[in-house]
């Protein structure tokens, strides 16, 4: 029953191959049928696998499918093999399900694109790589998928490559990810030589046999986390993700929000058995996560490009997932990953629908009142906003609150407080986005009137989405076609009910999802929260996660607190952007320094550019021109010239001092000098003479030695 798992990645792979090779000749209908059909097939197969899985007893829910041996040398044995357990099946369902919806959406969104087949080919290729990533049974195959999704991300960010900024954004994404992968690879190496295996099951078995020292575990986990931080856009490697919004909006939704960027979280959850060995690494993950969550939230407060706000929001939400896995709440992190996939995909697709409907506009200052023209988009977008803001009973509430609660209950009070503050920011910037875009008067015609907060100078990567399409600002705003609105509605339903699988025990829920994944995280039931003075958790204790019976009241209290703060935050946004519209401008003026800092994203891009890139380029030039051409070649040329001189001198010696018998040798040397000086086809004969003479000399030499 298990030998069809390989079909799950194969279907999208076939779609990609066909669409990329001959898609141009097939017609758009066939192309989209092939592309969507393949993904639907994968989704159905994943669903079938899911039902097979839940039929098994809870602790035996593992399906393993070896396809072939990829590398086998010495101890190294890496197979192309798939592992489906409760963790990866959730990922598979989310990936194939959301992918399918976004493929369908793309049929409408990309309808007029001249590179239609290539788009779907790339998108299918992405899904293939993503399935490899989540279903891989070993780190090496996961890494293949990991870099594969990076390739697709590169190709799709720069899909409209005619615009230089898009192409540059793609390049940036790939290179920053490569820096992350640098750490990831080293992590794999260290892990392999420590435990002699790359497969997840093999590693767990090896760990059971001979435990790893904490130092080694910390090193491995931190190296792997470098990879995770690159792929999942965490501090300090997040800089590529906002620029990545240059790609078509469905790509932003699928790759840069719902699936690929969550790979880092998934990887850590997958490696949970290793991370729990290193409290230090876990703490680093949690701190980086919550810091990113807050930091990105502050930037999102002032951005005016609708996709930029969502991009920073994504970075921020990913931070929450890392906070979750970092405090040992792996299930909660994955739960948030899943709900986030629903509502963030919906937000991006909704924004795409707005961009589509307004003829390519992305600047929220030129929107407003869109809700009247695009009711479906508006309502679905609103649902997603409520979900991400964390209002019960929408999806985001349960998952985010679960993370915050686990953070609090595991003793990380400071991290919890920062996380809560981030949640308040989330509610504010998302409400601001909704109010600016959908409410008030339409501002599309006041294009020339710029509010005080100017566009940051330098680079504005994605002020328009599609240079190939007609994007008149005066185009009539209209609702998007059905292929686009139906996926919106499906995702809206998921954003409403998606959280119900994880209602916490405190609310008399069953928390199915945590229970379902529990066997995967069985080894990590006990999280050692040592006394981390740095986090202020002076009263921290060793707490078994998930067993906090006496804390139900506290959990409920904190829930009420966070919901209350979120509601206040939303009202604040309402007050600023609907009631007293002059307030944001006044605040921006009053705190102009801070405002500029946020608007320019803390100038991190500029610092990277000036400090890192510039000095690298300077070094390159020194090496290539000063050393290679300046030193080494000078020596070589000098040697060459002096050889010619020596040859000439010895030639002169031969001619004038030694004559007759040794003439042959002398002339050859001279001939060599001339060949060296003036190589021309005409001198072929001279050269051959020399070679012959050389061989004669050689034989003579041997003769001489043998005789001796």
């Amino acid at each position: 029953m298990t030998n069809y798992l390989w079909l799950i990645p194969l279907l999208p792979a076939l779609g990609a191959i066909i669409n990329l090779m001959i898609g141009r000749f097939l017609g758009k209908r066939t192309v989209s049928l092939l592309a969507c059909g393949g993904i639907l097939g994968s989704f159905v197969l994943s669903a079938v696998t899911f039902f097979q899985l839940i039929k098994l007893p809870a602790d035996a829910r593992v399906i393993h499918n070896v396809v072939y041996q990829w590398l086998n040398i010495g101890k190294l044995n890496a197979e192309v093999a798939f592992l489906v357990d409760p963790l990866s099946i959730i990922m598979l369902l989310v990936v194939t399900g959301v992918s399918f919806l976004i493929h369908v959406y793309s049929v409408g969104y990309m309808a007029d694109d001249k590179r239609y087949a290539r788009y779907f080919g790339f998108l299918n290729l992405f899904v293939f790589a993503m399935i490899l990533l989540v279903a891989a049974d070993n780190l090496l195959l996961m890494f293949i998928g990991w870099e594969g999704v990076g390739l697709c991300s590169y190709l799709l960010i720069g899909f409209w490559f005619e615009k230089k900024a898009n192409a540059t954004a793609g390049k940036k994404a790939f290179i920053v990810n490569r820096i992350g992968d640098f750490g990831f690879m080293l992590g794999i190496f260290l892990l392999f030589w420590s435990l002699d295996s790359v497969s997840f099951q093999g590693l767990q078995a090896a760990l059971a046999a001979h435990p790893l020292s904490t130092g080694l575990a910390t090193a491995i986990c931190l190296l792997l986390f470098v990879g995770a931080a690159g792929k999942s856009a965490q501090i300090p490697l997040y800089v590529w993700l906002p620029d990545a919004m240059a790609g078509p909006t469905p790509v932003s939704a699928l790759i840069h929000a719902a699936t690929m960027v969550t790979a880092g979280v998934y990887m850590i959850a997958r490696m949970n058995f290793l991370y729990v060995l290193s409290p230090t690494a876990m703490l680093v993950v949690a701190i980086v996560g919550v810091a990113t969550a807050f930091y990105a939230g502050t930037i999102a407060l002032v951005q005016n490009d609708i996709k930029k706000v969502l991009a920073y929001s994504t970075i921020s939400q990913l931070g929450y997932m890392f906070l979750g896995v970092g405090v040992g709440a792996f299930a909660a992190g994955i739960f948030h990953l899943m709900t986030h996939a629903f509502f963030k995909a919906l937000l991006f697709l909704g924004s795409g629908s707005v961009i589509h409907g307004t003829g390519g506009e992305q600047d929220m200052r030129k929107m407003g009142g869109v809700r009247k023209f695009m009711p479906i988009t508006f309502w679905t977008f609103l649902i997603a906003t409520v979900a991400i803001a964390g209002i019960p009973p929408f999806a985001g509430f349960f998952s985010k609150d679960e993370i915050l609660w686990k953070t609090f209950s595991s003793g990380h009070r400071v991290l919890w407080a920062v996380g809560l503050a981030g949640a308040v920011l989330t509610a504010f910037y998302m409400s601001r986005l909704v109010f600016m875009t959908f409410f008030g008067e339409n501002r599309a015609h006041h294009v020339d009137h710029h509010p005080p907060d100017q566009e940051p100078s330098g680079h504005d990567v994605c002020c328009d989405d599609d240079s190939t399409r007609d994007k008149s600002h005066h185009a009539h705003i209209h609702e998007s076609p059905k292929t686009m609105t139906i996926p919106l509605m499906v995702l809206a339903v998921l954003s409403i009910v998606g959280g119900l699988v994880g209602i916490p025990h405190a609310l008399k829920g069953a928390n199915h999802i945590e229970e379902f994944m529990a066997p995967v995280f069985a080894n990590s039931g006990i999280i050692h929260v040592e006394k981390h003075v740095s986090t202020g958790g002076h009263d921290a204790a060793v707490l078994p996660v998930g067993e906090h019976h006496g804390d139900t009241t506290l959990e409920l209290l904190l829930m009420v607190l966070s919901v209350g703060l979120v509601l206040i935050s939303i009202y604040g946004a309402y007050y600023c952007y609907i009631k007293k519209k002059d307030i944001p401008g006044r605040i921006a003026q009053k705190f102009s320094g801070l405002h500029k800092l946020l608007l320019n994203k803390y100038y991190i891009d500029e610092i990277y550019q000036q400090v890192l890139i510039k000095s690298l380029l300077a070094l390159n030039n020194i090496l290539a021109y000063k050393i290679d051409l300046g030193v080494i070649d000078k020596i070589v040329n000098g040697l060459g010239t002096s050889t010619i001189k020596v040859a000439k001198a010895s030639g002169w010696m031969d001619k004038n001092v030694v004559d007759g018998a040794v003439n042959g040798t002398g002339q050859t040397v001279l001939a060599f000098g001339q060949v060296v000086r003036q190589p021309q086809s005409g001198r072929l004969k001279d050269y051959l003479t020399w070679v012959v003479a050389g061989i004669i000399m050689l034989v003579g030499l041997i003769w001489f030695f043998v005789l001796k």
């Binding site: 590398l71 010495g74 640098f182 260290l190 080494i632």
Partner: protein
């Protein structure tokens, strides 16, 4: 036929030379077709050879005849896993090179004759098991390469050819001296490489010096820092097909020489100097990559990237020898090095072919002088994408397998070196994507609005290499199985 298969393989191309010389000077078509037919037959033989080859760790298809009995010089051929991939790659690259030379109109007879002679020389190097024979074939490659660059090259061809010649000649002289030393130290005197390996104890007294002499000879070819500066010039000036052969095969002769001669004959010296191979390998990778980033000429960029990528071979050999105490772990890195030889041959071959395609159309290679080519030449862009991502070591393509194994092997033996070397993959992504962005993406440069798409003949030269790159990336085991036993055997010799 099996008993003379290698002889046939080596001399098949040179059989075409008299025919070509007999053809009328103006009949370019006939000359090209003759060259294509003979290299085609050679390629078919090589494929057949690979099909019936199983790696036992021993030499196979041996041919052994006395050549110059007085000096115990033998015509001794044979192949094992170390050479099999090169014995396949050489005919393939040379066959494709014939088609990449279709545009050569000057001195066609001489050009193809020299190219075929070069082919024979290279095949000889990879098959010879007698040091003297090896040396003769080694020198045979020098001559045609010199003229092919010096006559059919670009504007600075003289300088490039001389530079190539001087560097290589210095190396050859050193190799000659060491060869003679081996001969006189051995008892009975012999040039037989397997016999020399058996007598390795005779060479311990001067092992270090002999190793350094041989190393310089081979390092020039690799090319290893600081003997690398001939390569960018040679590549920039050489015609496309010659660049392809140079990068695809000639450079591998250096790595092959180290594997075939230094390791088995000088095990002790190799072991004690292995750390320097590691260091030079890392320098090649990083220094080469940094220099690559500063290049403005497409071919020079690819040439420098070759320097960087050949560093992986040196690193792989260095770490395998360093860690030879545990052969089954050490062989991982050595597999990587040998695979990298083969992969780099295919990938750099593709890159130079691709550089030739655009040069034939635009007559320059200035990276900043293009822009938006993807718009005009989608198929060409697709092939370039494949080649650069393979070169970047994208998992799923062949480049990754070699690099990964080298790194994995290296990590156990020398962690700091590995950390530095792995950073090279970030730099590789940097320079290739930078080049790709400038040349292929962005708005189309109006100057090139009428460029024609890559044609059928050019695709024909690229597709076989592209397929190999994909196949080896997805399913590397058949290739590993062809080399692994011989490499284990080789390391056992080193461990003595």
């Amino acid at each position: 036929m099996h008993s003379h298969l290698l002889t046939l393989l080596i001399f098949m191309p040179i059989l075409a030379v008299p025919l070509i010389l007999l053809l009328p000077r103006k009949s370019h078509g006939a000359i090209r077709i003759t060259a294509a037919v003979f290299t085609g037959i050679q390629l078919a033989l090589a494929i057949y050879l690979c099909a019936i080859f199983t790696d036992t760790g021993d030499f196979q298809f041996k041919e052994k005849y006395n050549w110059i009995e007085t000096f115990n010089i033998q015509y001794y051929l044979g192949i094992d896993g170390i050479s099999i991939l090169m014995v396949l790659l050489t005919p393939l690259i040379c066959f494709l090179a014939v088609f990449a030379s279709w545009g050569i109109n000057k001195g066609v007879k001489g050009y193809f004759s020299l190219m075929l002679l070069l082919n024979t020389g290279m095949m000889g190097v990879f098959c010879a098991l007698d040091f003297f024979l090896f040396y003769v074939f080694w020198e045979i490659t020098l001559l045609p390469m010199y003229f092919l660059i010096g006559i059919w090259g670009g504007p600075r061809k003289e300088y490039a050819a001389i530079k190539f010649f001087l560097y290589t000649l210095v190396g050859s002289v050193l190799m000659l001296l060491v060869m003679l030393a081996f001969y006189f130290k051995s008892d009975p005197h012999t040039f037989d490489l397997t016999e020399l390996a058996n007598q390795y104890k005779n060479f311990t007294s001067f092992g270090i010096i002999a190793f350094i002499g041989l190393y310089i000879a081979f390092a020039v070819k690799v090319p290893a820092f600081p003997f690398h500066t001939w390569l960018p010039d040679a590549h920039t000036e050489a015609p496309t097909a010659i660049s392809v052969i140079l990068a695809g095969i000639l450079l591998k002769m250096g790595v092959y020489g180290i594997l075939r001669i230094c390791l088995p004959i000088l095990p002790e010296a190799t072991r004690s100097l292995a750390i320097y191979l590691v260091i030079i390998g890392v320098i090649n990778i990083i220094y080469g990559a940094l220099c690559t980033m500063a290049q403005k000429d497409m071919k020079r960029l690819i040439a420098y990237s070759s320097i960087s990528h050949m560093g992986f071979c040196l690193l792989g050999i260095g770490v395998a020898v360093s860690g030879v105490a545990v052969v089954k772990d050490a062989v991982i890195g050595l597999n990587g090095a040998v695979l990298q030889m083969f992969n780099h041959g295919c990938i750099s071959g593709m890159l130079f072919l691709l550089a030739g395609v655009i040069y034939d159309r635009a007559h320059h290679r200035d990276i900043d002088g293009f822009g938006g080519l993807a718009n005009r030449m989608p198929l060409y862009t697709a092939m370039m994408t494949l080649a650069i991502f393979a070169s970047m070591g994208l998992p799923g393509l062949s480049g990754f397998v070699g690099e990964f194994l080298v790194f994995l092997g290296a990590f156990k033996v020398n962690m700091p070196a590995t950390v530095i070397a792995v950073f090279g993959v970030v730099l590789t992504a940097g320079y290739f994507l930078w080049m790709f962005r400038r040349m292929f993406l962005g708005p189309l440069n109006p100057k090139y609005a009428n460029l024609t798409e890559i044609n059928g003949r050019e695709m024909f030269t690229l597709v076989p290499l592209g397929l190999i790159v994909i196949f080896v990336g997805i399913y590397p085991m058949p290739v590993i199985n062809m080399v692994n036993n011989s490499l284990v055997r080789l390391l056992e010799l080193v461990a003595r």
